[in-house]
Symmetry: C2
Subunit: 256 residues, 2 copies
């Protein structure tokens, strides 16, 4: 199967490299950021182009651009008469953003990508959706080749999964930033918390987060929470987060 | 080294088992919950007692009881003329809660414990503190024998670490509960998120949480956040958490 990549950001880069490593032939990399496109194209032995009209023919065109840009790219691809399956990679965007392309679909990696991070996509599940059965089969086979597998999911389900991913990944990371700051204030290395955090995640996925909850809010231990608020002092942002999370945990266990 | 355990909850149980496995002789298990004490004492081949006066002599007495109970236990231990080092295992409690015991200290495992979870304490760092050098040495050697090592830390530093642990573990787990609920609404298995969450943690500890942050709040992507708020709908608790975390991330990156 031959593939075109539209975009040259984190998702485009990680997917293009994984596809290339798995033996897919990347034909073209299209990006307005010509330098990024050139550098990615070079890595995956493809042609860099900055206009849809110059894009080579391919069985699959993956649109990995910011959500807002998907509609515009789709219209340009349709006008240029591009054939094959066209799929975007966004969690929060409906497959219909690719209309009027007939063979439209979605290949969404449920993962967080940063520049220069190493990531093993073989552990990454993909959510797939398509407007027709052949496109769906093509996307499933790509997902199985580079990821841990394909889960069929419509655009509404994927939007909810995207919300869940924000809660589980983006918000979790932000709590770790707050924790890192508290460790700095304690004069202790952030790494001391790593085994605790890894055990927390392991417990949540083996026991369920409801059963795995521990801590002062779970026990409604007012004295310890008061001591924490003293340590937080005038840091109103952290205080706001502490109070919101604490109140939600107390409410969850109905011991307020 | 011989050890007495006061308490029979999660921390007492995990520590007693780890000590016993590492060849420490557990002499007595003291708990008001006689049945729990009996069952734990049986597992670690110790005597179960329900009064400080009946506690055998030991080199180290570990007080793993609720924070509120530490002072009372310390007074009883002192009155009974117990010898050896006495250490509590609380993150949020000062070593001085054990006064007037002379050889007092703290052996705090930076970990989350639940009933029936399997845990490898060899990856668990311990925070240690003591009123005298010999007690400190004893606690360090215990920490190194059953855990990944000992980090010296005074009661103020440990209180800040305890706050950091609540942010990094308890609050993270609660976000996973919210994510699990969103996955249920999407009709998708919670386990789909596990590789994403594990990668999030790995990135935070290798790159730093500040650099690892991704997602709509990081980009200040108003359209996606609006779509999330529509999905959250009338769930005011989740809405409160979503708004608080989102505002904090936007503020952190100064692109609001």
């Amino acid at each position: 199967m031959t593939v075109n990549i539209v975009g040259s950001g984190n998702v485009a880069t990680h997917l293009a490299k994984a596809l290339s490593e798995k033996g897919f032939e990347i034909k073209g990399v299209l990006s307005r950021a010509k330098e990024h496109a050139q550098s990615l194209a070079c890595e995956v032995r493809a042609v860099a182009v900055d206009s849809v009209a110059d894009m080579p023919q391919a069985d699959l065109t993956l649109v990995a651009v910011p959500d807002d840009a998907i509609c515009g790219v789709a219209k340009a691809i349709h006008s240029a008469g591009v054939t094959g399956v066209v799929a975007h990679t966004s969690g929060a965007t409906s497959v219909d953003a690719l209309r009027p392309i007939a063979h439209r679909g979605v290949l969404y990696p449920c993962m967080t990508f940063s520049k220069n991070d190493r990531i093993d996509l073989r552990r990454c599940p993909f959510l797939v959706e398509a407007a027709d059965a052949d496109s769906l089969d093509a996307l499933k086979s790509v997902a199985c080749a580079i990821g841990s597998g394909a889960t069929e999911c419509d655009s509404d389900g994927r939007a909810r999964l995207h919300l869940a991913a924000v809660l589980a990944s983006n918000f979790t990371n932000h709590m770790l930033l707050m924790a890192q700051r508290a460790m700095t204030q304690a004069g202790l290395p952030f790494d001391l918390l790593r085994p605790l955090v890894e055990q927390t995640i392991a417990k949540a996925f083996t026991m369920s987060p409801f059963d795995a909850q521990t801590g002062p809010a779970r026990r409604n231990d007012a004295k310890t929470m008061e001591r924490h608020r003293e340590l937080i002092g005038g840091d109103m942002r952290l205080r706001g987060l502490y109070d919101a999370l604490t109140a939600s945990i107390i409410k969850t266990y109905g011991n307020g």
